[in-house]
């Protein structure tokens, strides 16, 4: 009691820790989990939640980067294809060149960052709208990925990848490592966005890039950074995806991920117009989407219905956002 009182008295020197949208999301996810637990008690078992977390990890991880991109008023629809490129390179290195896991991991991240840099340079220096450039690179990366696959699958993915979430070696405190790693990175980015000048500058750019430039923000560098970080995280997410898959990697890796990630980011309260959003929201958004998908299967409903719910949640999230913004304008 006293502790609370003391805290209450201390002056807040920074914007509040969590926003309204995040709390709403937390409540919605909690409510969904409760309903699912009530309908199928096994939902809240470790066996059920662990795969869910493993499944969430890559989407949330890319979502962390996508949050940077969207906060700075950009968008990246090429992440699915970039994931394919990173995935096939990593898998082939592991299987054919027998490189160690660490090397493969670093290569995946480097390749991802490189692809992100291609997007970033074209967008920041070519001064083309992000959605058009990334529509283009979506196709280009697809091409590269398929060329690298050479119409084959990569077989015999080594079990060293189990470290990212499989069996006892893959978890700590019962949580899969991929999820933990994602959480650590998300926390770091969250901290960066919230606490450092560079981080705050993303919000300024999303709000008004010209004014940001006038205030001395190096806008192009920031924009490039957003896409490079997203690319690097796509590389890591590709490794997670290989790790959670079977011993065979095929060309379906990454397909459709861009839309899933964007949906998670938007449900998480990040404004598609830029200037507002948080990493925490994105993770909750990803968790919500996966909960809905799993929930639909577990309830025995047609699995395709989950997309309908995702669509409805996106509409609700955007609607709530608009209402809040309108209330704010009205208050002024």
């Amino acid at each position: 009691m006293t502790a609370v009182a003391v805290r209450g008295k201390r002056e807040r020197v920074i914007a509040p820790l969590v926003t309204g949208q995040e709390i709403v999301l937390l409540v919605v996810v909690a409510a969904l989990w409760f309903v699912l637990w009530w309908a199928t008690p096994a939902f809240l078992s470790a066996d059920s939640l662990r795969p869910l977390l493993i499944e969430v990890a890559p989407v949330a991880l890319i979502g962390v980067g996508m949050t940077l991109v969207i906060v700075s008023a950009g968008i990246d629809v090429s992440v699915g294809s970039a994931m394919m490129v990173c995935g096939v390179i990593t898998a082939r290195l592991l299987v054919e060149a027998q490189v160690s896991l660490v090397v493969a991991l670093l290569v995946a991240i480097a390749v991802g960052a490189l692809l992100g840099a291609v997007n970033g340079v074209l967008i920041a220096w070519g001064r083309v709208h992000a959605i058009i450039i990334t529509f283009g690179t979506l196709n280009l990366f697809q091409f590269v990925g398929r060329q690298l696959f050479g119409s084959q699958t990569v077989n015999g993915i080594p079990s060293t990848l189990d470290i990212f979430g499989r069996g006892d070696a893959g978890r700590t405190f019962g949580l899969p490592h991929s999820f933990l790693l994602m959480a650590v990175i998300a926390a770091a980015v969250w901290w960066y966005l919230r606490q450092t000048p560079g981080g705050r500058h993303f919000y300024a750019i999303g709000g008004d890039p010209v004014a940001a430039e006038l205030a001395g923000v190096r806008v192009r560098r920031r924009v490039l950074l957003a896409y490079v970080v997203t690319g690097a995280l796509v590389g890591l997410a590709a490794v997670f995806t290989i790790a959670k898959g079977t011993a065979t990697l095929d060309q379906s890796i990454g397909s459709g991920k861009e839309l899933a990630v964007i949906a998670a980011v938007v449900i998480g309260g990040t404004s598609i117009m830029g200037g507002r959003g948080s990493v925490l929201g994105t993770i909750l958004g990803a968790l919500l989407v996966q909960t809905v998908t799993s929930g639909v299967t577990q309830l025995g409903w047609p699995s395709d219905l989950s997309d309908l719910f995702v669509g409805v949640f996106v509409i609700i999230a955007v609607g709530a956002d608009l209402l809040r913004e309108r209330a704010r304008r009205a208050k002024r």
Binding site: R12, V13, T196, Y203, L214
Partner: protein
């Protein structure tokens, strides 16, 4: 005597065909407040944008504290210690007050922002400006416009400024807020900071400024100790020798008022505005920036419907709720912000003219009558003497004056009962201005009731049969055709008429 804080020589700046500044010299001493005055469009904001590094001049040199300075970017200006509060606030709605104030030069402890240190400094600044310290962590989007303006000022004060530039800071502040601002400015001045202060409220300059530099038509005319001048004399300098140009005389036909505004008000903008305009009469509403004058026409046009009072049209009370509605009632408005509110940049002249009258220029309101459209466009191009090879030219490529004529032409496709013109000749060259005045007068002669809302005083006096001065959100005085510019300016700028 030591070197001046700032010494500007022979600055000029062109925007395409528009000469914003032809020749500007300015010397500002440390520990003084230097007022910069001039009519709208005189080039004040352009000059300070050059000093802030937001705009690069075409010619000229700048010395700061006696040393030549190259200001190529905003960062250079900041490094010199030049802090600027722009006319339009450059703030980020989603960031907190504290973040806005320190954006681009955050205080750090290690890699992170030193929130506590920033907060302490921000609280100090807010205190100074009379804002509650809890606002430090509010998002700027949640603040009122006046509060945002004060945040802009706080932002400028946060660095250790040697030269503080304030571009019309008082336009949207209340008297009490202005008082606080003056206190701050005085304190800064005492500590040796040089301040450039731009304002249209000439009366307030006497309470704060030491010297005044007057600009007219993109040139500085000279610098004077403020104590040697009166409001009237400054006004005379600003206005120049166009003072007594001949005014065409015209007789206003007698008749009942066509447009009547009685006790019209819009929450937070203006109140108790009373205006009547007869058919065939030209009435001007004149007020300085922030006087609320610009909002009045918008309200009559249905952009922001009035919250109090009444609008009568030909004696019938009306309540326009949208521009569409207003147009149906026979009210037209030439908007003030030509680019944002008037122009469809990459569309043709014909398109720009016909867009407000599609039902009229179509068959069954569905099918464009292109022949008619072309005829109407060509006709108006001729009538308004728009300089263009064809009606198919895109408007975006035209000069400001010609573009303005095209936007005006749109209001004339159907002769409106009431034509309102907001800043009809802003950014328009002398010749075109002349023609626009001629057109407006001709329209009035044909029986249109014309209401001109302008901050260009010579213009108001030249074309209007009557002139109403708006100050503090309400109509305060009325002048006839014979009024002198200086009289009017003095009233608008705060001189109390006895």
């Amino acid at each position: 005597m030591s070197a001046p804080r700032l010494s500007v020589k022979d600055i000029s700046k062109r925007y395409g065909a528009v000469r914003a500044i032809g020749h500007a010299d300015l010397v500002v001493e440390p520990g003084t407040v230097h007022a910069l005055v001039g009519e709208n469009g005189a080039g004040k904001s352009t000059l300070i944008k050059i000093l802030a590094g937001a705009v690069t001049p075409d010619t000229g040199s700048i010395e700061f504290d006696g040393a030549p300075a190259r200001i190529g970017a905003t960062a250079d200006a900041m490094a010199l210690g030049i802090a600027t509060v722009y006319q339009e606030p450059q703030l980020f709605r989603e960031l907190t007050v504290s973040e806005n104030i320190f954006l681009g030069r955050e205080l750090r402890s290690g890699p992170r922002i030193d929130w506590a240190a920033q907060h302490a400094r921000v609280v100090e600044l807010l205190d100074l400006l009379g804002l509650p310290s809890k606002e430090a962590t509010s998002q700027v989007g949640d603040l009122s416009i006046a509060e945002q303006q004060q945040v802009s000022i706080a932002k400028a004060l946060a660095g250790d400024a040697k030269l503080l530039i304030l571009d019309e800071p008082s336009a949207i502040l209340t008297d009490a807020e202005i008082e606080v601002l003056f206190g701050v400015v005085r304190r800064l001045k005492e500590s040796g900071v040089a301040v450039i202060y731009i304002s249209h409220r000439l009366d307030e300059l006497f309470r704060i400024a030491d010297e005044v530099t007057v600009m007219r038509d993109g040139a500085t005319l000279g610098t004077y100790p403020i104590a040697e001048l009166t409001v009237r004399e400054i006004a005379e300098l600003m206005v120049g020798d166009v003072l007594d140009d001949e005014r065409p005389t015209r007789t206003v036909p007698d008749g009942p008022p066509k447009l009547e505004l009685s006790s019209l008000g819009l929450e937070g903008e203006f109140h108790d505005v009373d205006v009547t305009v007869k058919a065939g009469e030209i009435v001007a509403l004149y007020g300085l920036v922030g006087s609320g004058v610009s909002e009045i026409a918008n309200t009559v046009y249905g952009i922001d419907p009035a919250t109090t009072g009444e609008i009568r049209l030909g004696g019938e009370p009306v309540r326009p709720i949208s521009p569409r509605h207003a147009q149906k009632l026979g009210i037209a408005l030439l908007p003030a912000d030509r680019k944002a509110q008037g122009m469809f940049s990459f569309q043709s002249i014909a398109f720009n003219i016909s867009v407000g009258h599609l039902p009229l220029l179509s068959k069954f309101r569905l099918w464009m009558d292109r022949g008619r459209e072309r005829t109407v466009a060509k006709d108006l191009i001729d009538r308004l003497a728009v300089k263009t090879p064809s009606e198919r030219q895109p408007i975006g490529a035209m000069s400001g004056g010609n573009a303005q004529k095209v936007v005006l032409a749109r209001q004339l496709v159907r002769r409106p009962d009431v034509l309102m013109l907001a800043e009809p000749t802003q950014g328009v060259d002398v010749g075109a201005k002349e023609e626009i005045h001629r057109i407006v007068t001709a329209l009035a002669d044909e029986g249109t009731a014309v209401l001109v809302v302008t901050s260009d005083l010579p213009e108001a006096l030249r074309i209007a049969d009557r002139l109403l001065v708006v100050r503090g959100g309400t109509t305060v005085a009325e002048f006839g055709r014979e009024a002198s510019q200086v009289d009017v300016l003095a009233v608008a700028a705060g001189e109390v008429r006895t």
